[in-house]
């Protein structure tokens, strides 16, 4: 009996800590949007650090390939998780649409960086730096408008 209760408690704890919950208010929905922006920003800044490493001659392709692949997956997962959350109002519809516009350039940069590094073309990753900065600016603008 006790054993079952403990196993049940562990199961509930794991499930409850892993779920993306629904949003009942605009404030909660906006907070989830801002969290998504944080994840995409973290991914883009990671690629910026990878560019710095390549610039200083420290690039090792297998490592950089996994690094960029990992953060691209994170960004895509965050955006996909947000997209399945039901907007609670028409105001939230606006946030949803704005977020899409804000994160899309970043997602494109991450994909381009992953493709370039897997083609063993680190120079192409470095060449993405202006687009990367533009994508970060876009995230900042979104944050300023809804934050």
């Amino acid at each position: 009996m006790v054993k079952r209760a403990v196993i049940g408690l562990i199961g509930v704890a794991l499930a409850a800590s892993a779920c993306v919950g629904p949003s009942r208010t605009d404030a909660d929905y906006t907070s989830k949007a801002l969290h998504t922006v944080d994840v995409v920003r973290s991914s883009l800044q990671t690629v910026q650090l990878a560019i710095d490493v390549i610039d200083h001659g420290g690039g090792y392709r297998p490592y950089l390939s996994r690094l960029i692949g990992n953060v691209e997956d994170d960004a895509n997962a965050a955006v996909n998780s947000f997209e399945v959350v039901q907007p609670p109002s028409t105001t939230a519809d606006g946030v949803r649409s704005e977020l899409g516009d804000a994160v899309d350039p970043g997602i494109d940069v991450l994909s381009a960086a992953r493709i370039a590094i897997r083609r063993s073309d680190p120079d192409a990753v470095v060449a993405l730096e202006p687009d990367l900065h533009a994508a970060l600016d876009q995230l900042d603008r979104f944050e300023a408008s809804v934050g």
Partner: protein
């Protein structure tokens, strides 16, 4: 001279073997999100593991018996069985995390997906446990784990403002944008990572494997009082480089690749080579320790013959438990469950299970029947009692905080 060399090697092994996947993930994440605001937890965690590892080593050296052997005797079969269930579950979860950690380190070195590495890593872990003598497997991976000193070198090379670090570490607070529950959730994770129960099972069983006697109490003290705190400095180095490089850019450390990044930014390819070697050795060594600990706990509870000093045919049930644990861990790892999430859960559940491990050690270390005149002194008992309260609070708060913060998201 031979004894001095042996003690020196033991200390180096303790330093290199101190860090495992839980420490790597927890310290890098904490540094990236809270800078040095949680450094105090590492200090408390290291002091705690020093205190209880010394006790368990002393108990093993004086009584000739390992922790779980005594747990059953002191708690009785029913309560000890519940203890075994919880301790084995946490150790097994940690084993999954360590095997996946080795596979992730190999993925970073080769770009081959970690899922393809997991069966090979599982086989390698079993083979090393099966073939290598106890002292060799402990020493080799402990010494190779010293490659993680690269994080300390990177920390100095990055030339941070040390005054600011000391100020933040001594004036901890919750940074802007982070919630108080999240801060405490990470604090418990760091505490659980430093005081993982398997470390004590392995340490005390290892003392029995190496036939420690009262003459070895000096070696016990040297390993614990010098090796573990220096190992703790490696944890703080991981936190420091993440705080210096990742935090200012709002970069999280959700992957092993990101935990490695500050050292690569600082030291380039050479730094990366050491990081990958260190990650591999730390996680492989810990996979050996958790695999063996799974066998130790079960065999010691049931009173089976155990250990690597006896021929495998004489400890068949012990080796079967080790093999089955590694096999099941490989199968779970292959389900593509997120290894970093498994690591995070393993350190939080470690915190939940801590009282089950540390209360019996404190009780036995005070029992003259086992310890003669080597029972705990006043300082050890005072600190042990304070730690028991801390451990109970951490254990009670861990799961509610995990749910409230959605696993620290």
């Amino acid at each position: 001279m031979k004894r001095v060399l042996s003690i020196f090697l033991g200390i180096l092994t303790a330093i290199g073997g101190f860090v495992d996947i839980g420490d790597i993930v927890a310290n890098a994440e904490a540094g990236a999100r809270f800078k040095w605001g949680l450094a105090w937890v590492v200090v408390i965690g290291v002091l705690g593991i020093v205190l209880f590892a010394e006790m368990s080593g002393r108990v093993a050296a004086v009584s000739g018996r390992a922790t779980f052997d005594l747990v059953r005797e002191r708690l009785g079969p029913r309560l000890a069985l519940a203890n075994l269930g919880a301790s084995f579950f946490v150790t097994f979860l940690t084993l999954i995390a360590e095997i996946a950690g080795v596979a992730l380190a190999l993925e970073l070195a080769t770009s081959v997906n970690y899922l393809l590495w997991i069966p090979l890593v599982g086989f390698g872990v079993w083979l090393v446990i099966w073939r290598l003598p106890f002292e060799a497997l402990e020493r080799i991976f402990g010494l190779l784990g010293l490659a993680l000193v690269v994080f300390a070198v990177a920390a100095f090379h990055l030339a941070p403002d040390w005054g600011d670090i000391v100020h933040q570490a001594t004036h901890p607070g919750v940074p802007h944008g982070e919630g108080i529950p999240t801060y405490w959730y990470f604090a418990i994770g760091l505490f659980g990572a430093a005081m993982t129960p398997y470390e004590v099972f392995f340490f005390s069983s290892g003392a029995v494997e190496e036939a420690w006697s009262e003459e070895d109490l000096g070696t016990n003290k040297a390993n614990v009082f010098i090796g573990f705190p220096l190992g703790g400095l490696l944890s703080l180095s991981l936190m420091t480089v993440a705080a210096v490089v990742l935090n200012p850019l709002d970069v999280s450390a959700d992957h092993l690749s990101q935990a490695a990044l500050p050292a690569v930014v600082s030291l380039g390819k050479v730094g990366l080579a050491f990081v990958l070697m260190g990650f591999f050795a730390a996680t492989f060594g810990a996979a050996l320790e958790t695999g063996l600990s799974a066998g130790y706990t079960v065999a010691q509870y049931f009173g089976w013959q155990w250990g690597k000093l006896v021929a495998p045919r004489d400890a068949a049930r012990f080796h079967t438990v080790v093999l089955a644990s590694v096999l099941v861990a490989v199968v779970v790892g292959l389900t593509s469950v997120d290894p970093i999430k498994v690591t995070e859960y393993s350190i939080v559940f470690s915190a939940v299970a801590l009282p089950l491990t540390y209360l019996p050690i404190l009780v036995v270390a005070n029992d003259p029947t086992y310890m003669g005149d080597r029972v705990n002194g006043r300082l050890a008992n005072g600190l042990g009692s304070v730690y028991l309260v801390v451990i109970l609070v951490a254990a009670a708060a861990a799961i509610p905080l995990m749910i409230a913060t959605k696993g620290g998201a």
